[in-house]
Subunit: 295 residues, 2 copies
């Protein structure tokens, strides 16, 4: 089930397929680095922008048209692109392991260009993260074999994870935050609830969730949350963040973790296209320097 | 002779017509600021670049084509553009005075996007700056009435300054650093020398210049140097610079002088297109904030 992609160790894994991620690709490609890019540009903040007037050379263009143009540019260079979200990154033995959609990829450096999540955490989500709350069915599903779990899905593209969990868990309470759920499970252990989770309940241990319409607690052993993007702290343990939850970087776009760079909206500052693209160029150049020095 | 443009006080004067200057224009225009842009894009570092492959959306484009595209974009917004070089900026009474080609313009804030000069200073040029060496005929010509001066011209577009000085000075030794000098003076006090100045000579006071082919000193009272770009310190007195002669900025692109911002190559770091454009966006946003708060 877990597929480990060991035949390839990448020089740099770029997490995020918005303008910052794309700019990092071009600038590392120019330095002949072996690159893997993760993410889907449809999640980029500018995807829905109707009119962009400050991208030099384009008098007026929609976010979609511009991303499409960028994407065509990226496609003209030879890199690996996985258009799915990364759920977690680990560091071990001078190499980063990247967990994306049931596969593990390896890379010597990381550039975080994840944008910012416009989505608020559920109450106590952070408190119980790793102690009952998980973002990764592949990583943690096994701990909930024959148990009762609650799934909160914000991301239609991760619905296959629900199927996977339905084969392990005894009972699933399923909440979703989009128009129509589309899972095809012949298991009758999945109970779909048209409601919104309010709080994850528990003193020291997670005991259940409460939701809006009914004022009672739904007991469960664990909570899986599938989001379009997860916070940097949850993505890469130990990374230093600012008070506004952006990733702390210096002027070289270096984070506190050696070999890890951040750029664009996720690194704070103004949420603007050109700033993101420019910062990605700095991150890419410094990642290239790091690679040349250390590998 | 000095024309003071007082009917217009601009919100922001952007010094430099490369990608950084252009990006600053768009981002301040979007905030409805009254902008004046100085400089000629032909002096931009990328003007001669044959192939640019890392401007997102353009798989391969020449520097000239890209600048042309940028310039068309800038021309579609309604701003003032003076395609000549600024020789000096002064601060007085909460307003900056900008000296450009014998005219004085006024602005509430300044964005420096001057790029870097690839031209080395002549020996002792900095030592005698303001004490015999000048970059500005209009500002300092008057001090050399009936005296002997040396002119070193690196910039054909400033040749009219030579005419102006020939009417004031007793004698002019003229050196130039391009193919053909094209001045039309009926004065016989201009002696054109096909040579290169090596050093400005003097212990405490400037006494003359020495040049390569002949090993003697040419005595004079002052030296005028006409360059395509001048260093930030010479442009705006009191501005703090780094050891590498770039302008010292913080992460908001603020310099040590209130209301003065810098971005792109002149602000140090990597000399790259996207970094310059992105930094200009940060400078523009912070200049706009400053204007909203203080004026």
């Amino acid at each position: 089930m877990f597929k480990i992609i060991l035949n390839n160790i990448f020089d740099t894994a770029i997490i995020g397929s918005g303008p910052a991620g794309f700019s990092a690709v071009l600038n590392l490609y120019a330095r002949k680095k072996k690159i893997i890019l993760f993410g889907n540009f449809k999640f980029s903040a500018i995807y829905k922008a109707k009119k962009i007037k400050n991208y030099l050379g384009e008098k007026e263009i929609s976010g979609l048209e511009l991303l499409d143009k960028f994407y065509n540019h990226i496609n003209s260079v030879n890199i690996d692109h996985i258009s799915k979200n990364v759920s977690q990154i680990f560091y071990n033995n001078e190499i980063f392991s990247i967990n994306c959609d049931n596969n593990i990829y390896f890379s010597k450096t990381i550039i975080l260009a994840t944008g910012v999540s416009r989505q608020k955490n559920i109450k106590n989500e952070e408190k119980f993260l790793g102690r009952g709350v998980s973002y990764c069915a592949t990583c943690d599903g096994i701990f909930f074999r024959n148990k009762t779990i609650c799934i909160i899905s914000y991301d239609k593209s991760q619905e296959h994870e629900i199927i996977f969990l339905s084969k392990l868990a005894k009972k699933i309470y399923l909440f979703f935050d989009y128009k129509k759920i589309n899972i095809n499970t012949n298991k009758d252990n999945v109970i779909i609830l048209q409601d919104t989770v309010k709080e994850i309940i528990g003193e020291n241990n997670l005991v259940g969730v409460s939701f809006y319409d009914r004022n009672k607690i739904l007991e469960c052993d664990g909570v899986f949350i599938f989001k379009k993007s997860i916070s940097p702290k949850e993505l890469l343990s130990g990374i230093k963040i600012n008070k506004d939850k952006s990733i702390k970087i210096n002027k070289n776009c270096e984070t506190n973790l050696s070999g890890v760079y951040a750029c664009g909206d996720c690194a704070g500052g103004i949420y603007q296209l050109n700033k993101a693209i420019g910062e990605a160029q700095i991150a890419a150049q410094n990642a290239a320097k790091f690679l040349d020095k250390n590998f």
